[in-house]
Symmetry: C2
Subunit: 406 residues, 2 copies
């Protein structure tokens, strides 16, 4: 008994039959005595169809119009679910960003939610209405429609849960929880019962695709308990929650990988102050995100500088860096887009020693050469050759005993 926010992704509402299935889940939550707020993504394929229309209309569609166009996808799914719930005899009402209102900033395509008005929803909940909210969308102060970026419906759901002070936020998706590794490449991967916000954040940032990382940031900030569950089965899923003592006992909670990595090395960079700025400013100016950066110790006043970018950005990045390298008098620029990032994550790392050493020796034993390393308090990432990705993930999963229930 409480206030439950449930979010269903695109594959969960892909057709009328699947939406009827969602309706059943919603009703079962409602008849248990809960107040229910449902957040939906667009029907699978619909957003892609709309994006294609936009790009057939223009190579660079005007941003305001693009957002108003693709937001129709969620408008269709929420009204269909509401029609079905009403048919089944339940009072339900769909709401769009402007009707609630979900106020965002004006950064089209990746807007951030600034405020959610809870009056309309609370009034409807009091009447016993099942409230259905279009995910992914909001409006700015001038009533322009904005969208929150891919996976933005997760963020809509968590933000609504926070604003409504919901007891729980259920994210229904096509997997039944968060796994210790991607089950598609690691057969021994195990579903986690619980994971801390910080771990989930690192998992999302280093390649796990289940939750949009901004939704996790919000959940952490407002301490919203988030369950990741399957739309297609009944199970408890994985609870994303505050860190506790139990979690710290485990050294690591998961192994992730990210194949969308490319490595650029600038060879024999004159080691002068301001050189790094000269190299990276042109990339920043074109919004190219640089992930890992490594600078070797200087020899004879020269150093090598290596960094990674998204594989999609490699052409642009190479063009800019080649010019910058010439300008500062570096010898040459080398590119390797055949690399991947493999990471281990765990809050337990802080209190356990030898985690990094164990990771490196495990990879060495398998003959996997480490090209770059970067660490945070609860994460160690290594860049390796792409062909070793599966091997590295499985070996690390074994080495840290992730297949065994703690």
């Amino acid at each position: 008994m409480g206030l439950v926010v449930q979010k269903y992704g695109g594959t969960s509402v892909a057709d009328i039959k699947k939406i009827e299935n969602v309706a059943k889940k919603v009703i079962s939550t409602k008849v248990e005595g809960n107040e229910v707020v449902v957040v939906l993504s667009a029907m699978a394929g619909e957003t892609d169809r709309l994006i294609q229309l936009a790009y057939r209309a223009a190579d660079e569609p005007e941003e305001r119009e693009y957002d108003a166009l693709i937001s129709t996808g969620e408008q269709i799914s929420v009204t269909l679910l509401s029609i079905i719930l009403n048919k089944l005899g339940y009072r339900a009402k769909s709401f769009l960003g402007f009707q609630i209102k979900i106020l965002t900033d004006q950064i089209y395509q990746k807007a951030r939610i600034v405020h959610i008005d809870t009056d309309v929803i609370n009034q409807e909940l009091k009447k016993g209405t099942i409230v259905i909210v279009a995910g992914f969308q909001g409006v700015d102060q001038e009533n322009n429609i904005t969208t929150l970026g891919r996976g933005g419906s997760d963020t809509s759901a968590v933000a609504l849960a926070a604003a409504l002070k919901a007891d729980v936020c259920d994210i229904y998706t096509d997997v039944d929880g968060i796994y210790t590794a991607d089950p598609n490449i690691c057969t021994k991967a195990r579903r986690l019962d619980r994971i801390s916000y910080d771990e989930m954040l690192e998992m999302a940032r280093t390649g796990a695709k289940v939750l949009q990382h901004r939704s996790v940031e919000l959940a952490k900030k407002f301490e919203v308990p988030v369950y990741v569950k399957s739309s297609f089965s009944y199970g408890t899923g994985t609870l994303v929650t505050k860190e506790d003592k139990e979690m710290e006992k485990e050294v690591i909670c998961g192994v992730t990988y990210d194949r969308d990595q490319a490595k650029i090395t600038v060879v024999r960079v004159p080691d002068r102050p301001g050189i790094a700025a000269q190299l990276f400013t042109p990339l920043a100016d074109e919004n190219i995100v640089v992930d890992m950066i490594i600078q070797n110790a200087s020899i004879d006043g020269y150093t090598d500088l290596t960094f990674t970018v998204s594989r999609k950005e490699i052409k642009n990045a190479y063009r800019l860096i080649e010019q910058a390298a010439k300008d500062i008098g570096a010898t040459k620029v080398e590119v390797d887009d055949n690399v991947a990032k493999v990471s281990i994550i765990g809050v337990g790392m802080v209190s356990h020693s030898g985690v990094a050493a164990k990771m490196f020796s495990t990879l060495a034993r398998e003959g996997v050469n480490i090209l770059m390393i970067s660490t945070s308090e609860i994460k160690i990432s290594c860049i390796v050759q792409a062909k070793y990705t599966e091997l590295a993930v499985s070996a690390l999963h074994d080495a840290f005993g992730l297949d065994k229930t703690p």
Copy 2:
């Protein structure tokens, strides 16, 4: 030089190529020095796709949700046109019902526009923006999305023209104007240069499908000059305007037909006060619109009563009337759904005598039996057997010399 409202129908925006064609027409109006407001329907087929989705979700989709669902069609077309205009270097912005705002009553599926806020549009026009408005939709006082009924985009356009005090409202469609008869069944049909609001209203009510009749009512009320033009060619089209002396010189301006007619006769109705009310109240209660009603002179205290309804309503109407007929002691109920209504329209009728006689004798000469007659000041309608529709239209078109330019 002035303020022009242009409306383009579904076939005019059926695909990206056609929308690019619309963009060209809009630009040519803009570069002539006009301020331009564009109203669009949904891409041809899109509204039907959405309606199908709704009816696959439920046999009787909840009305509020249905409107929010099908209004997405116009949201897609207006954003695509705006994307194309921006690509071509023109400042353009799309607006939905809630963004303007186009306030309607709360009668879903056939809402009436109550008020249009002109501030937002006027501000944008001042900046030189081409303003693109989603037709067919509005919002009620509680920000629920409403739709105006089939052809509602015409009404959106005329209402905007009235609110903005536009100099002209151009309705672009797949024909190049209003014809003296449907060119598909009458080869001699001629495009009219001008037609009065009242004539256009009667044409629309009696079967002409070019303009939604509510849009004509609005145009008449606010004296908005409306041009009906082709999207696919350049021509002056037909001007719908105030009646003038020239128009009165012509006896009639057009012949129309409506095949969506069914005739019901209640035989030997006891001729008592209140009988008609007893027969028609059940129909009114189920929102069945009765068009023509004829009651013969009473013989021996009994009379026959004949009326017409839309062919789609005939099953429902028969069921209700059969019961009512029993209740009042009528002998039997006869149904004929193989009829059509043929009408002649013209403001000149008022000042010319013998128009009705000429119509009846023309039909008689062709062997067309008249089953029912109804008249208004500027219209005469006859119900005939459906198989005579084309013959009757062509014969009347000839008899009144409509093929000849006045």
